[in-house]
Amino acid sequence: MPKDQPDLDLSPQVSDEVRKTTCYMCACRCGINVHMKDGKVAYIEGNKDHPVNQGVLCAKGSAGIMQHNAPSRLRAPLKRVGPRGSGEFEEISWDEALDIAAGWLEPIRNDDPKKLAFFTGRDQSQSFTSLWAQGFGTPNYAAHGGFCSVNMAAAGIYTMGGAFWEFGQPDWDNTKMFMLFGVAEDHDSNPIKMGIGKIKARGAKVIGVNPIRTGYNAVADDWVGITPGTDGLFILALVHCLMKAGRVDLDYLARYTNASVLVNEDPKSEQFGLFLRDDDGNSLVIDRRTGKLAPWNGKGVEPDLTGTYRHKGITHRPVFHQMADRYLKPEYAPEAVADRCGIPAARIRAIAADLARVAFDEAIELDRKWTDFRGVKHDKMIGRPVSMHAMRGISAHSNGFQTCRALHVLQIILGTVEVPGGMRFKPPYPKPPHAHPKPHGLAIPGGPLGGPHLGFTHGPEDLLIEEDNTPQRIDKAFSWDNPMSSHGLMHMVISNAYAGSPYKIDTLFMYMANMSWNSSMNTTGVMEMLTEHDEDGNYTIPHIIYSDAYSSEMVAYADLIFPDTTYLERHDCISLLDRPICEADAVADAIRWPVVEPDRDVRGFQTVLCQLGAKLKLPGFVNEDGSAKYEDYADYITNHMRRPGVGPLAGWRLGENATLQHGRGEPNEGQLQSYINNGGFWLEHVPEEAAYYKPWSMEYQEWAVKMGFYDSVQPYIFQLYVEPMRKFQLAAEGYGKRQPPDHLREQINRTMNPLPIWYEPIEETMVDHDEYPIHALTQRPMAMYHSWGTQNAWLRQIHGRNPLYVPTKLWEQHGFTEGDWARVSSVHGTITVPVAHQASLNQNTVWTWNAIGKRKGAWALAEDASETNEGFLLNHLIHELLPPKGDGLRWANSDPITGQAAWFDLRVKMEKVAAPDRSQPAHPPIKSPVGKGPENLEWKVGK
């Protein structure tokens, strides 16, 4: 070392200890190494052994230390003492808090359990919270899927037994073209970034389809700046081009999809549009070996795609015929859709041609033997190396279900699902809709619900409605309004409860859902509903219980607060019963554990539910002698048994003679410690011969049974044609016992087409396009997760304000310059916000970052915080109901099939205005129950 250089310690002690747990800074669930010094959290980095993130970590994850130390953390249970919305509370003991809650809930349960609406927002313990709600007996339970991405999830399950993210992912190591549709940047965030990095390192191609060119779309080799809400039309034009050119995987379609299944084509038949079935209920195909009918799953059957079958005067044709009839029509030609989609016809053709080139001319062959469910042995695995991913961008439209279906149909005709280089499912998926539960909704005073709340409907008989069509659920899920609403409609709960439609409730109980702010449409209206009194002077929604770790906007609107721990102070299980963290090549689950103990009077919400459940003597939460079954959530995680041998965690269960085994087994008291010793997760690789073709591979199916994903092998074929949708259409046409109300017949018949269609987003059909010519969207930044980032001293320096980004055409048209403000109006509301120019944007679209704007007084922020003055919510422009049609009915601003909140159907107009002193609307400050954060930070744990 040169003499004038200082002597540096190049090997400082990094930490006293590393504790490995699971991140909760977003929904991605990466493994983290928490470095401890003096018993405190000093530094957080990614866990290299973890299947999700393999060592990398995003900005949120690394900023976890600031989340854990946030001044906005609640300190003790709170009882409201001022009016709702004021933020005036007093701290109370847990005993008092649980007494108050039980005092409200016990009479409801004995009298009418549905008077409790229990909705958990960004809950990662839904298999547990739903069990609690089942025990209570209320039909009114769901998490936040209905206002997030139920269209994507449900379309995936109904079509092919799984969608993206938790369900499936591209075969990153083998794919040669990756096509990304309208993706929000926080779902599966690190794996997508890692995957894009891998693809780019190989020089393979990324195509981004998104009105906004940021993030992943900024690095895409080709960017398609599509008009919002037209993705389905664009996709069906690709389908048109590919079918017209015969660039479809006929072998794959015949063997592994219902393209070969015969459909009744007699318009006069009660079975019109339904599958021809044998006496055992198996759908039928024509076997090419014999030319005769055969069940789809018959041994050795070679399903035909062309043959028709006539029986008793009724013609039956394979699904593929119907697809040819529909998608070869000129209405799906690129020229016919180009203007509407904002994509030149030549560009659409070029993309279709490129898909065809890669899928068929660059096909992959792996020398791996496998056996399909018909007993046919295959020497090779043939790959079509085109992969796709989509999330909320295409999902959050009122035509989103059909659009997501169309995307899966595109994948399937190219033969790119569950093949090398394509999209692959993550165990325990794939799992077809019939392997999932059906929804349950019948409330019995004093008793539990008959089964899980959420599930998949297969026809009108599965709807949760009374004889007179009144919905059984407060959110009207699984009613004629939205028959396939598999995730419920959390965004309609407050509005329906306030309106008493379908009925009044007594207690609204919520977890981790900021419903009086960024998680609701019509935010101002929701605040009014939460604070409105009835004629007797009582709140219209009489009781509200809320659990959150932080002083969010919603806290002020509750009567009783259960303060949650931070994610570093709690037990959790990321369970195979819930939303798994597996990779395509491995099954995995994980835990959180208290790497630090809380320094305040807070409890993990799930532990509180164990305690409250015992107090209420809910089935599943008490022993036979009435004592509490689970001391806390850790006890539940270890000892709960969902089915014989199957519990919340699959690793380190007990086999015979107390040997440790994975998958099935008895509870093991040392299980959590085994997880901790292993870095917080458990993983087992999928056998190589079962790595692809999972729905059809006997190697995979048998392994899945062994692991406990299901109890018997259950191969299935992809549903290009979703027959349950046709059953709802038949009802709308007048067939069957259960009949929809007349005002819904047209909508059901038009939208629930069993083969994907495109229709104009509903609100767009009701809004004057000349008056409101602009589309308005939100995106979530990669460095911030909803509202849970704003309190974070590091992350708010990256996203502390959010301008409205305006494309060049509109920027010039309105004469904007940097620093200007605009008044932006929809048919529903008006906001006044700062604008900024962005050229890489669809020319008729404006957008902003989601959930940066904050209410004054929330999150322990000072009242001059940039989030409150220059931040804003687009939510004020979006209503949970459509504009009145003049028919006196309330029509939800949701997808009519699934109830998915149609956030992205918004149209606005814009005018330049003088800068106000802050963004508008400006809500008065709420009183902070935790005070304000410090002015400056000099954070250092080790000295």
Partner: protein, 253 residues
Amino acid sequence: MTQLPTSTDKKLGLVIDLDTCVGCHACVVSCKGWNTENYGAPLSDQNAYSGAASGTFLNRVHSYEVQPPEGQAQLIHFPKSCLHCDDAPCVTVCPTGASYKRQEDGIVLVNESSCIGCGLCAWACPYGARELDAAEGVMKKCTLCVDRIYNENLPEEDRQPACVRTCPAGARHFGDFADPDSNVSILTAERGGMDLMPELGTSPVNKYLPPRPKDTSTDIDILAPYLTPVAEDGQGFIGWLDKALSAFPGGSK
């Protein structure tokens, strides 16, 4: 004035791939976390929970729009930290010798105990890569995680800068540019790695890989044969299908 070494044994630095960087800020916050807890004074934050917060960062991601004369606008994410220049003007301008370039590996560092916080180095740096910490009054800059890359308390695979270890897209690479066979030298050669503002004569060690050409595949002429029609309507398609399927198992019936 402070002397630069005439040469360094190694030239440690980063290759940052602008074709792959998605602008996620993972490197920014990972750097903040490590360097708050480690080398020198913590990276402080002012108005941490009020106003427009502003703190010290050693690495920031900027985003720039590029509007080509023809075609669609592009957005480039540009992470920026100290480039550990061979001819570092921030070192030669330092009045106390606090800023220096290490002879053994070329890392440019600030010896905080000698730093008087005069800010001359930040003015001299043409890249804006140095930030004066408002709480401590000393100059902060990228250390290339000098307390990680040689740290015997870390597993060998973790002996790399925090930003490189955390980058989800794999857009950041660390290595020795003095070694022509190193990962960073090879990447720079293969992908046309560039100096940032070479005209300034600072001879930066860090290199940037330029974005690959974008939006190039709009030429349907080359691809048209892939879409040669086999049918014009449903009926024609079924006719084609019959023929196509005759080549399949059972097709000879």
